[in-house]
Symmetry: D2
Subunit: 403 residues, 4 copies
Amino acid sequence: MFEYTERTKQLQEKLLRFMDDYIYPNEKVFKEQHAALDDPWDNPPILEELKTKAKEQGLWNLFLPDSEYGAGLSNFEYAPLCEIMGRSSIAPEVFNCAAPDTGNMEILARYGTEEQKERWLKPLLAGEIRSCFGMTEPEVASSDATNIQTSIRREGDEYVINGRKWWSSGAMDKRCKLAIVMGKTDPNAELHKQQSQILVPLDTPGVTIERHLKVFGYDHAPHGHAEVTYDNVRVPVTNVLLGEGRGFEIAQGRLGPGRIHHCMRLIGVAERALEAACERVSERVAFGKPLAAQGAVRQDLARSRIEIEQARLLTLKAAYMMDTVGNKVARREIAMIKVVAPNMACNVIDRAIQVHGALGVCQDSFLAAAYAKARTLRLADGPDEVHRETIAKLELKPYRRDK
Amino acid sequence: MFEYTERTKQLQEKLLRFMDDYIYPNEKVFKEQHAALDDPWDNPPILEELKTKAKEQGLWNLFLPDSEYGAGLSNFEYAPLCEIMGRSSIAPEVFNCAAPDTGNMEILARYGTEEQKERWLKPLLAGEIRSCFGMTEPEVASSDATNIQTSIRREGDEYVINGRKWWSSGAMDKRCKLAIVMGKTDPNAELHKQQSQILVPLDTPGVTIERHLKVFGYDHAPHGHAEVTYDNVRVPVTNVLLGEGRGFEIAQGRLGPGRIHHCMRLIGVAERALEAACERVSERVAFGKPLAAQGAVRQDLARSRIEIEQARLLTLKAAYMMDTVGNKVARREIAMIKVVAPNMACNVIDRAIQVHGALGVCQDSFLAAAYAKARTLRLADGPDEVHRETIAKLELKPYRRDK
Amino acid sequence: MFEYTERTKQLQEKLLRFMDDYIYPNEKVFKEQHAALDDPWDNPPILEELKTKAKEQGLWNLFLPDSEYGAGLSNFEYAPLCEIMGRSSIAPEVFNCAAPDTGNMEILARYGTEEQKERWLKPLLAGEIRSCFGMTEPEVASSDATNIQTSIRREGDEYVINGRKWWSSGAMDKRCKLAIVMGKTDPNAELHKQQSQILVPLDTPGVTIERHLKVFGYDHAPHGHAEVTYDNVRVPVTNVLLGEGRGFEIAQGRLGPGRIHHCMRLIGVAERALEAACERVSERVAFGKPLAAQGAVRQDLARSRIEIEQARLLTLKAAYMMDTVGNKVARREIAMIKVVAPNMACNVIDRAIQVHGALGVCQDSFLAAAYAKARTLRLADGPDEVHRETIAKLELKPYRRDK
Amino acid sequence: MFEYTERTKQLQEKLLRFMDDYIYPNEKVFKEQHAALDDPWDNPPILEELKTKAKEQGLWNLFLPDSEYGAGLSNFEYAPLCEIMGRSSIAPEVFNCAAPDTGNMEILARYGTEEQKERWLKPLLAGEIRSCFGMTEPEVASSDATNIQTSIRREGDEYVINGRKWWSSGAMDKRCKLAIVMGKTDPNAELHKQQSQILVPLDTPGVTIERHLKVFGYDHAPHGHAEVTYDNVRVPVTNVLLGEGRGFEIAQGRLGPGRIHHCMRLIGVAERALEAACERVSERVAFGKPLAAQGAVRQDLARSRIEIEQARLLTLKAAYMMDTVGNKVARREIAMIKVVAPNMACNVIDRAIQVHGALGVCQDSFLAAAYAKARTLRLADGPDEVHRETIAKLELKPYRRDK
């Protein structure tokens, strides 16, 4: 109880050393190399160097529970590792554990045909290409997946795709080669059988990257969130995933684990923010004493510690339940961490900003950028309110009068 | 991980059945019998009946980790059981697991001489008498234990005790026979060696129960919190616990487990408050639909569920650490749950009151009384601010410049 | 702007002196006299003495805007005076400005016939009798007034009343002689024309005070909240107020000013709680320095000051609008202060309790009792959620698509 | 009471019309013109066009209480106008009411010599040049002004300035010609007499704009926040403001009004965010109904309305007190709004973001940028904690034991 497995402990140790040896010292290098590039959507060379190192050390594809293709770790085993990666914005990709590729690789590993795996899963697992996920549309509320308007119409041996997606994260990256697109193959089928997911090579004629979307002023280059139009895009029928009408089913399977990774990483970044706050208040002097000697500051540090601990425990429990009783039974716990983790991270980072003063909001610290990301995750997979609604529904079920 | 032990599961099942069969149905009986008594500090007869039943079923002294005298459960094993008892205000005593007797029994079991055990521990374990703990004094801030003013002066083979204590919980009860009193035997010794703890039979000449203290209007009869004066009270030197100057040491050992029990019980009462809220909103209609259909109500139910889950996990972790690495190493976790559990309970109960309307604040529901208790526990073992201070101190330790 | 009128300033000064000279010193006297009474629903003699003094000084019926019967002050002029009275639980009645009599006197002054005024308004204005208001019923959600079930059926020259009311505040008081009862004269009329209000002398056969309701353990004696049954209670038809079917209309007119008084008083009690907190932290020492030197304590004092100031300004603005544009146009502001004032008071008092430690929750301070009252006022005139709903409705009106 | 003056009402009307006619429709134009510029620190031509129009309509320099140079409005009169300007990020400059010029113009108008006025105040009042204020330094906590390290050493008829400033807002703008720099002329004088303020033309040799600082990823071009070094910068002795050693005194006078303008503008932007939220929830449909029909959303709209109203009233009161009793007596109220306004704005904007979903965090809405600014204002003039400390100090003063 409250102990990690041996495997996790060994990987934790290795990972922590790697962070110290290669990740933290190279955050600045990454930044400088990126600043020197002509095209912000190119990648700094340091990234590939680090990926090679991570691969050599066996710190690669740890996210994938499938032991044929990945590390074969359970969610509970992976959680503390994912948390560590979350401490640095450059780390997840170094270990080939970055969103949205992780979710896409899981889908391909679980539902892909041999041919699909050969063509897309292999290079993704090798870290040679990247991918995006085309789900959210600007015109409709995406917290309700049945709203989707993109059409996927069959014509002979091809599907013809028409629609507009935005927040296709990663699509700006020059190495992004594949989009998994969700759309409607049959608008007349029953509500959850209308959607399909389909593989669309990004170089297919008719696919246009319209622009990139900023998050609180950040372009998140070289990753980037794109608005993408699909104008009579044609792909072979074999590109459909799992079969027509099964898009919703795939989405459900994808979102559970995909999103718990976000929660884990948020815990990591919150830890780092708290450390930065402790560091700062211990050295910064105002009104004759270090900030660390001020009661109000100390109370806030304690609040952050308490919130982090509680969020971590709840995330671990959700991971454990996903492993043992499955995503469906664990949906209450998944909904809870989706509310808890980003809110906790926003609070903890905001307090860290506060003790950093103006330094905390500018480019000289990681805090403001981390806040912007955490804030966005209160929306990215449906707003807090929708998850609380899910929890309330489950809570009230035993009391329903009409049952 | 996140699983209770077999022993806990079996006792949980038994306990839950006992609650359903005997505790809940008799809460009203207890109230009515108590209302009919001439003296509010007498006990309703139903209590002894229930105690006999609990003893028969082996649901007795579960709190005591010492397996010679009690159940021999670890904190982690006891936590989920204590939580269940916390659901009813009459339950803890029925199972002989009520404060402050539990803490006093632990002290006696651990530090008592054979004679002390024979005279006091045995009847306490048998549920024949009750006891109180005389620590807090009205004149000084008790969050800082070095402030204590009560004097314990040796004269020959006796100690002479002089002082004024308040919030001696349980001292109003007619069956209360023993006070464990904390005072200073040597005001000139070093700071944490000045205090001693001593056994004082409540019928010793010079001991006067001055009055009872109410909590938010509640007298908590027949238990009750007393203000007690000690006026030249003489007890034999053999009544000292562990030895002169070791009072602080005993207090430290007592407070850890004693207080985690409060946290566990608070989780139980919060669960019951949430259940009451769900029940209420499912049946109460306003503006044409059940309260359960209102979004604001549902969001609040979800908030309560989230807070309870997180508090429970943190409490379990603290219990686990107390068992495995000891109270000292676990002091960060203990401090955290002392902040988290009562605040969580206040929030959850307050939300339950809100959906009950005026019913929630009066004697027809358990909610207002439960709130008053939970609120008091934000102070009873030092205020939130002191615990957060402890947490901050530990958090900042690695960053200290003067280390 | 932000200045009180001359009249208010003069009365403020007078009132403050009266508080210092007569109210604060007699709070303890009131308590002791009350404790010495045989019947808790009798009144301590000090009360009549103080009322005589207040009358002599012209500090009497200040609440009544009608200048024929009362002081003729506007809401804006009365607000700062009512705030002062709110500082002591015994003050409002001393100045004949206590709920629910104030609301009842307003109704009688505005809607009563000459005969009704002669019989009831006169002795109420003279402080000779007291009254209660029978609205809330235990079986239905009273936040929705159309739910009321009590029936008022005409039979010849009489109305026959049947129903059960609770939370009839003041009905326990021996001097309470009159109930204004709300019930349905015509359940088939349109929704807001079904109700009537009727005068019921409390000694009418069929009226039974069933029991008193406690608020968080307080019985609020000698005032007290009663559950009252009406069993075939017969009163002459002339006892109806304003006319059959106009009960809802009267209620609307009553609640606006009636409730703003609560808000004003809450500001007063919050001020006193903040003063008590400042006093306490300035004298109490812990860990080697006064609590006032601790940063966390100081931040909380500032929070309280900020919340009080904002609540006061909003209440004054609502009062000003009620005076200038009327209750209907001011309903947004009225709804806002109903949310703001009790929540502010709960927060401020809770923080004051926190720095008082255990003293703050017991009978030795006014804080816990004040908290219980403030908490109840988050429900007494409909829960926070209902007022926020009103505000949202008004806010969204200009954006409605169906307009 | 609670009424604006006639003059304010007239200007309000005029200003609102100007906003509708010229500001809102040109926000997009400004953006597009700016995007098309080669240098982001140049200004879009639309700006000068709008300034001309504003000047023609007499909506110019409204901020300046001095009626010789400006509109001669009191703070209380200006507040509601400044609020309106705060609704658009391009508006303040259009009306020549943008920070930090407003504060600099006030200093020059109040303390400047005729020569200083001629050279700097005149073109500033005419909107021909812009200015910056060099106060904050990267190395020391600027919430404590005595920490400043920049040296201003006299050598003959010149002062020699050496130091490093950052967050010199506006210094990136090509039209910025003047820095008012705060530094120490005499480090051995008494604490508040060490500092002086001095006029430094930005083209003086030795002044280097090192780089610009981003706020949550935004560069705030063409305004921009600069890090500026002063390396043996020489200016004539006549450039000192008011006299040697009087820098602290000037700063005190500057910060009061300067910062209350921020508060006013924050109220304006919060209003606009609430309007955007209402608009959005009225049109956006999820789960079969508009967001406006969801209880949780409606509660949040009400919360925002309540917070805005309270912040506005407190700001108006502070303005009124500054006008009537002066900045020193009003320092409690000034401290209060510095806490209240930015926190309120953060909350209101954050809730607006939440109902906008991903749209709310990207460049397609003004919300994320507005949040970043509001968040920064929780730090810009000292953190919340410092203002609360000021309030607590004043609150506790009457209770001090050592007085």
